[in-house]
Symmetry: C2
Subunit: 377 residues, 2 copies
Amino acid sequence: MNAVTGAAMDVTARTADLAEAAGNLVRLLPARLLDPVLSGLLVRADPDGVELAGTDRDRAVRLRRGATTRVAGQVLVPARPLAETLRALDSPDVRLVVEGSRLAIRTPSARFALPLLDVDTHPGVPEPPTVAGRLVGSALAAALVPVAGAASRDDTIPLFTGVRVRSEGERLVLVATDRYRMAVASLPWEPRCAGLDVLLPAALLAEVARQAAGAAEVELRCDPANPHRAALSWPGAAVGCGVLASPFPDEARYLTSTVDCEVLVAADALAAAVRRVAPYAGPFSSVRLAVGGDELRVQGSDPASGEAEETLVARVDGEPLTRVYRAQYLGEALKAFAGTTVRLGIRGAHQSTRLTAVEPAPDGVDLRYVVMPIRPR
Amino acid sequence: MNAVTGAAMDVTARTADLAEAAGNLVRLLPARLLDPVLSGLLVRADPDGVELAGTDRDRAVRLRRGATTRVAGQVLVPARPLAETLRALDSPDVRLVVEGSRLAIRTPSARFALPLLDVDTHPGVPEPPTVAGRLVGSALAAALVPVAGAASRDDTIPLFTGVRVRSEGERLVLVATDRYRMAVASLPWEPRCAGLDVLLPAALLAEVARQAAGAAEVELRCDPANPHRAALSWPGAAVGCGVLASPFPDEARYLTSTVDCEVLVAADALAAAVRRVAPYAGPFSSVRLAVGGDELRVQGSDPASGEAEETLVARVDGEPLTRVYRAQYLGEALKAFAGTTVRLGIRGAHQSTRLTAVEPAPDGVDLRYVVMPIRPR
């Protein structure tokens, strides 16, 4: 027993397991926290293994890994130094043991000792709510990464930093928009309750999708009777957060309207052309697409930079027309369809352009992307 | 003939060749120049191929590549946009052709057009001076990269941003110091004149070493009668610059004095231990080496971060002692000996520590590194 804090703990685990868990936990929490106690990571050893947990009072992260526990116990230590030290070790196993007022990280040739923080001042990490339904990790990642990328990074309007997560029978629909473009994906899911409709932070979801991509089963958790918190959990991990303000308006009208011209083109070839032309397209990289015949021409011009034009083979169905887009938005939309042929549905001059896949994607994911053209200069 | 500038040119080259040359040229010149005409790159096509040249009034870079010239000529165009466009192309060949007031960069499916700058306002790129001696590119790179890394990045004292280049018979000696550490390398060379001793900018030399590493023969150029400019040239390339102020004092006294204790240790293992301990070693990452028995212990401690100690097997010859070093300087010194056993020669508490290789390096390069210990806290 520790004289100062009453803490005791002695647990040995595979270094790679623990380093991965600590690194994942640090990536799921904000980098800078005003309250120093929240920069701590709770390490709990019990007969089943070791749990790392952390919170910023909104997000709640719990990651569990197998370990051999000699003395069960719980301590609070600085999260980033622990993650950094575990990542840098090259010994296969690592022992975490409380020694005096320190948590020692021991390998056969080295000892690193972190100060123990006062575990009693920590607010605790909330348990995740009940299960609302189940998903496949790879499908979640395929759908969520492009959708989260269409959300705004500007925190001043929190609404647009979220991904709307809505159940529609046996499909889960994910939508995000920053008002200039919108991404909509649906994927198969196994509902446990009806009427799920919450807005969750896009940046957190994108990191969760990356970490859960290998899991055969991911549980989405939200209590329909009290939909103020939600969580995703998969073997060894649970990540929760509060839901954002009420979801934004319906996306259906952007997806169903008729188009003036439909273009089929290789997404990667068009993305590469946009990337090459963008430096010639003025201070805002306004790239023009000119459609006609069996061609799609990508054009840019600016008095200072010069001009550029690249011609791509495309299947065009509809009247010849031109539209101007921000190169960044068009490029990010095309990236979501990398490796496939994409269908561009172009509408009136001031109406949105729709990108959809020609072939169905694996995992039953259906992705649609909407980009607003900009006024030609 | 062009109506505005009188320019004409039409040349076709391999895209990869030209993109590499333009990228290398951009890396050899400062990123930001006050005079816009110096942000231009001279493109000259002649029956032998194409030459790209640029200057910032001090540095002079000429890179030549094979090409098929239909119309010989010379133009001045913005350097970075040209390099960026060439790098992004995926067509195997590229044609540069003057069209009106533009240089068109053409592939079968695309045209990029850069504005022509006024070639008459360009100061021209000085020719390199006469040959002072010859080196092997791989040896130059092996010696110059660690030495240039020991120079200061702080432009306020230009003296310490340089590498002293001095001939000693059939060896060329390279020395750099930022006052806290010093690196000295010598390598074989074939002199064409005696008494070469110049100070050249370290950052430029490091980039030259990288680009010339594959060349069997590199010429160092400097006219002993007028040693105000120097250059390095290798097939297809010549890079010149003005010499800095007079060379700094002699390095010999740091390299020949007797040591109190000599330690043989694997450089990579020590570097890894220093990297792991450094986060525990306080705000200045002051890492302590404790030598004694057959061990080298790497220690760090700080009231806020905790403490760390790692033990390495080492061959120790001399009295037990401890010295404190900045982790960054020790780490960079050890990096220069990566993959080998390094010999640490430790002297009095306020005297420099010497790092040398135990086995001779390939290419006849002899590298010695000196690091100043710091006062223990």
